[in-house]
Symmetry: C2
Subunit: 112 residues, 2 copies
DNA sequence: CAAAGATACATAAGAATATTATGTATTTAT
DNA sequence: ATAAATACATAATATTCTTATGTATCTTTG
């Protein structure tokens, strides 16, 4: 588990990436998938995720569809066409950013 | 230039890494160095940096020394012993985190 | 079968961190 | 002389996350 500050600002990108792979997912499913894919290293809290999903919906990046499972409710999210384009851009920018940071943090000690 | 949200939570780590390389730096110098090392991709704002440096000083992670350059003032920061240990841990954790994120975001589209 | 844990949503108070704007003052370049 | 760069600082605001709380259903386990 990473200290919480590291996750800041990455949540939207993670969500967009997952949605661009699997077409439709519901919130709780996203938390499980991220835990699984990262071997429990990244754990998305629901208090962060649900407001983020609502924000993405408001921005027209995802659309939501409520489905009944027995007496329980699931809210499936899908990328809109606008969202698909946006997702690619954001993910690519983030990968670029990661590479930049890796370069910056891998620099060896210098004399001086 | 990356969209601003990406930088969130990384500032302290960048500062600690630079100080662990070069022993002592002043604030403005840090902004220039990061710009240079990242080919202008990461630009630290002074409004973010100075409060961060003050916080690190309060936590006993860095110590500060004011130097006069002509009639102007520079405030040089150095890692304390505690800070050196802390810097290594944080930088390593961050590199680990970056690798995890890269894995997560490089996953190829899946059928389903 | 009762209790605990997992599933599934939601929101609100508070903390942390950054942006943007503003301010002061000196030094260097045009 | 004026603009830009150097060098510090802080305040108001915005963003984003944590922690806590709430509701309700379904599944596992002693």
């Amino acid at each position: 588990m990473y200290s919480s500050e590291l996750i800041k600002g990455t949540l939207k990108t993670i969500v967009l990436k997952l949605l661009s792979e699997t077409k439709q997912m519901y919130g709780y499913e996203i938390t499980l998938k991220v835990k699984e894919l990262t071997s429990n290293k990244i754990q998305i809290t629901e208090g962060a995720l649900y407001p983020t999903l609502h924000a993405l919906e408001k921005e027209g990046i995802v659309s939501a569809e409520v489905i009944n499972i027995g007496k329980r409710v699931r809210k499936y999210y899908t990328l809109t066409p606008k969202g698909k384009k946006n997702a690619n851009e954001k993910v690519n920018e983030f990968i670029d950013y990661i590479n930049t940071m890796k370069f910056l943090l891998d620099i060896k000690p210098q004399v001086g």
